[in-house]
Symmetry: C2
Subunit: 446 residues, 2 copies
Amino acid sequence: MSQQSHLNEFFEFLRFPSISTDSQHKDAVDSCADWLLAKFRKMGWQPEKHPTPGHPIIVARGETKADRPTVLIYGHYDVQPVDPVEEWDSPPFEPTIKGDKIFCRGATDNKGQHFAHILGVEETLREHGDLPVNVIFLIEGEEEVGSPNLPPFLEQHREELSCDICAVSDTGMIGPGIPTLTYGLRGVACLEFTVRGPKMDLHSGVYGGAVANPAQVVAELVASMHDPDGRITITEFYDQVLPLEKWEREMWAGLPDGDASTLAETGVPALFGEAGYTALEHRWGRPTAEVNGIGGGYQGEGSKTVIPREAMAKLSFRLVPDQDPTAILQLAQRHLEKHCPEGCRIEVELGHSGPAYIMDPHSPPGKAAQNALQKTFSSEPRLIREGGSIPIIQSFKDILGVDTILLGLALPDCQIHAPNESFTITNFEAGIRLNRALLEELAESI
Amino acid sequence: MSQQSHLNEFFEFLRFPSISTDSQHKDAVDSCADWLLAKFRKMGWQPEKHPTPGHPIIVARGETKADRPTVLIYGHYDVQPVDPVEEWDSPPFEPTIKGDKIFCRGATDNKGQHFAHILGVEETLREHGDLPVNVIFLIEGEEEVGSPNLPPFLEQHREELSCDICAVSDTGMIGPGIPTLTYGLRGVACLEFTVRGPKMDLHSGVYGGAVANPAQVVAELVASMHDPDGRITITEFYDQVLPLEKWEREMWAGLPDGDASTLAETGVPALFGEAGYTALEHRWGRPTAEVNGIGGGYQGEGSKTVIPREAMAKLSFRLVPDQDPTAILQLAQRHLEKHCPEGCRIEVELGHSGPAYIMDPHSPPGKAAQNALQKTFSSEPRLIREGGSIPIIQSFKDILGVDTILLGLALPDCQIHAPNESFTITNFEAGIRLNRALLEELAESI
């Protein structure tokens, strides 16, 4: 199959605005699932579309033979919202090629990365009529909202999803052409809180000075989470944090300069965080408390001198081994409630969460993954962790009892979760080759 | 003229969505000015509509006689925005009567209060064919955006606006039926600041912990303006504050319980502010630093784990004698710039401002005002200050050289600047009688 026909199919897949967090896009998410279903049918498989209380899960499997290992390949067809939409240089859901890059929401995260696996399997089947291992594709539509329905689904289908290893491409490469195995991920725990004061918006001249301002209180609560050195002040927050091991810090120190690349990729005027850690250590091996959204009062043109009746903030905590997300959310909730002044009321709503993940990169499947990466990119793979969260990886461990190989194809400048997300044609095609090499290596090693 | 015909005319005036802060409503503001012009023409006057770089100013004067004092009556036909519009129980620009109350944006602030003066003058003219004093109406369309074009207008028309006293109804009454003379107002100084960090929204997993989060920085900057006791921490902020005088504190202590009424009117669970002051003293006699709007990151449904590229806050400071608004804005800007961490850049945009105002309530025009209030409401007037700002009052003093009598008709529950603003029919009609009594009293006293 030609590169052009690969791209044509990929672009059809990308055009669905499958934003899982926004109920207005429910139909688009569903249509996107149907498109995947049709794709697997074209490959001669009998895929299944499983409804959930949220968005459907697609399961597709090739021929199963008892004498060979089973590899479960996971991906997600849902994508992040696109706002601020005015900052996109091309329509967010119209794939646009510029040079080697395909610009589209979901291009890298995660449609491109798992669709390359599908095309790899399709090519192997076309050339050999069979695969070297049993393959199950498991592709969900709720990763961007924390995969609430996938763990119950894994529980219910534990037998039919039984496998020896999971493979996921939803992480990043150190740089173009540098193959990268990710052996750890941070966890995440989200919450939102609303502070309410007066029963209505007040004239800040008439009442200002005598009543607490909910926007001020939200700001104070957000500010209260860090000390001036950037260390998180929530009581017991760091108690379960495993320190980084010596070999990890040394390996990461040997990577291309993380401090400089963090500055270059983000454009910030200076780095941030508690002293004693590099940027990569902050991003991969240390927990955070972050405000992802804050809002209250008048945000339009001009001024409006009100004391708003309420204000809110959305927080997320990035977690490392061995922090427990449920415990962290409880600590955070206690911190916020304790620090809310008596002039306001606070309501804390706990959101999705998942623990950090870590696997041994020197295990047999870890070695197989390194070999496949070496073959695909003709270069020594680097061993890293990543800062993002894929809570489902922990569920594969807990429910299916298997480790996950994380073979990321995202490049540092691909702008996932931001305007102008892109995926390179180079990595899209490499992903197809990587799938083919990986299945061969896994057939031999496990 | 009947009450019904008064209301019919008033409702026509109210229906213009004359929101001065929002450029989308420019035509409505202009049409509202034209309506006023037509009203004065119907009274047999030759009013003038003066264009400005913003919204037009209406000037209307009756017959001028050299042997009697001249009273300038000021009002503003522009109104505040209506958001959150979903919290209105009736359409914001469709006057809706419930019991004694007329619900509409601008009903109290300020269309109702100055339109009563117009009707008072119209009635006196109809009954007597003349007025006891010379009257000039000066009605502008930019009070809610800080009256930027009125001071230059006063400078340019200083001679034709020459007068002995100004009268303004744009303040409040202690309670229904309690006549109130306001002898002081707080000033105001506004600014907006934006904090920018990364060049784009970042994935909070990928980069979180290594870069400063602009929403977090905005929260910290807002929080940095107060100490835990509610005292403002900006250096030199209190240096020019005149302490309250003993007689003022005693008079205010004799008013209906300000602490209890502040709690009841606002619905807050507890009062706020530095110790040692009553709620009324906080509201009328002490300065504030308030956040009127704050925003950054994802504020929609669900969660989006980003580090936003920028976040912002709108601040306003309520000022008391003798604080200088320009100096306060400079102190605030210096505070914000000094406290912004090196991982972000801050941009501070200074907005409108005006100093606090104070007059002597025991002067001849102050006494005339008290007499008119006594006649209209058959009760002893109370002497108060108010917390809101009418910067133009200071301009009348500085440019026209005259004091201003503040004869407010707003009630504590009229919800100016908030959803469901209202004005009572009782006070609308009292305003008409008050104008007639005031002009008679002023004719005798000055």
